[in-house]
């Protein structure tokens, strides 16, 4: 059992949702400078897999390791090392984009307003920095969520359908950001339906089901 010494390891994970056996002994490994594109039909367990990987959902059998050690032992370090973008953009409608970022990133690391503003700029929503998120479109909210992932400076990215509601320009920006992150030594697990145009070679995992 060579656990991924440097990155994320998911080992023989079984998960049941009520009577449905959603994940049947699934294993995967991610090392730095690697991107993994996970695809599969609806209900094949893509989101469940991500939730197990980031430690939100405890599998009935199997385990998840970070740098060789089970995440239950290194929970706080692991959480500081990951940025999870869930299916919903997970932003507070009544707060402005910048406030959302300052709050969520601030919980993990000290960051200046200028730095957060630059993250918004890189995802193309600098103009909405001071607007309450509820007035933004779904695509813009997706970009603010991506700015949060950037702001966290986490080596491991776990992105659930990051390209939904994005226009062509947005998809391009995101693909470039992921590529830049991975080539810079980071790791990315991306759940996406359609073809992922990633400059670097991305491993592919098709979930049965």
């Amino acid at each position: 059992m060579n656990t991924a010494a440097e990155g994320l390891g998911v080992e023989a994970v079984h998960v049941w949702r009520g009577d449905r056996h959603v994940l049947k002994g699934l294993s995967l490994e991610i090392d730095p400078r690697e991107a993994l594109h996970i695809s599969g039909r609806n209900g094949s367990g893509k989101t469940t897999l991500l939730k197990v990987a980031c430690g939100l959902l405890r599998p009935e059998q199997g385990r998840v390791t970070w740098r060789g050690r089970p995440i239950s032992e290194v929970r706080s370090d692991y959480q500081h090392a990951l940025a999870y973008a869930s299916h919903e953009p997970a932003l507070k409608g009544d707060l402005t984009a910048l406030e959302n970022l300052r709050f969520m990133v601030g919980l993990k690391r000290r960051s200046s307003a200028a730095e957060l503003a630059s993250c918004l700029e890189r995802t193309g929503v600098a103009s909405c920095a001071d607007l309450p998120v509820r007035v933004l479109s779904a695509g813009q909210r997706r970009r603010v969520a991506m700015a949060r992932v950037l702001g966290m400076r986490a080596p491991l990215w776990l992105l659930d359908e990051p390209f939904t509601n994005l226009d062509a320009g947005g998809s391009e920006i995101f693909a470039a950001l992921i590529a830049e992150h991975v080539s810079g030594g980071g790791m990315a697990v991306v759940v996406a339906h359609h073809e992922l145009v990633l400059p670097t070679a991305a491993r592919r995992l098709e979930l049965p089901g």
Binding site: W16, R17, G18, D19, H21
Partner: protein, 244 residues
Amino acid sequence: MWTWFYRLASPPFVYRTAGALMPWFLAAAAATIGYGTIAGLAFAPPDYQQGDAFRIIYVHAPSAWLSLFAYTTLAVAGAIGLIWRIKMGHAVAAATAPIGASFTLSALVTGSLWGRPMWGTYWAWDPRLTSELILLFLYVGVMSLRSAFEDPGRGDRAAALLAIVGVVNVPIIHYSVVWWNSLHQGATVAKIGKPEMPGSMLWPLLAMFLGFMCFYGAVLCMRLRGEVLNRERQAAWVREAMRS
């Protein structure tokens, strides 16, 4: 040393054992409750104070005891299920809840019926009855929380946590009700305490306690088999079990 503990956790073992024990529990319950009822009603002398009304104790005290015992079992089984992630713990907890609730209800009804000759009203907010009533609310809370979740596994874990929080609060609730009751009516209320009992009065009571416990064991075994099947429908051992 731990083998017996892990054997307890294996569903087929629990299913078979529950099936085997049930008839014995039922037989023991029938015998002891039979003796207790006949002896309690016919042979035990009437109480010098309450006359024959005291005979209600033969069904009230065991019910009240069982309502509390079942809630404690509910919390302990839930804790085992939650902490060691043993599904059988949740199965036992789910099986115990309705039984305990039914005995809480019987303790309440017999208690208030007993109150009628003593206090002149069916409900005089006696501290024990009030605590019993709140215990019933706790049961209903745990049972409705368990069934409120689609995913049975999550319902079990949530109900187990509530049962643990509940069992910690039961003594607090009881003490505060007793304090509150003494505030208003003073301690002169004739207690439904167990008056000092000569042997002929006491033996039927002990028999009824034993009988109720055996009855609880029998019904728990029956419900537990149902709970185990519901949770293990996909397992292979169920195929053989169904054939028998």
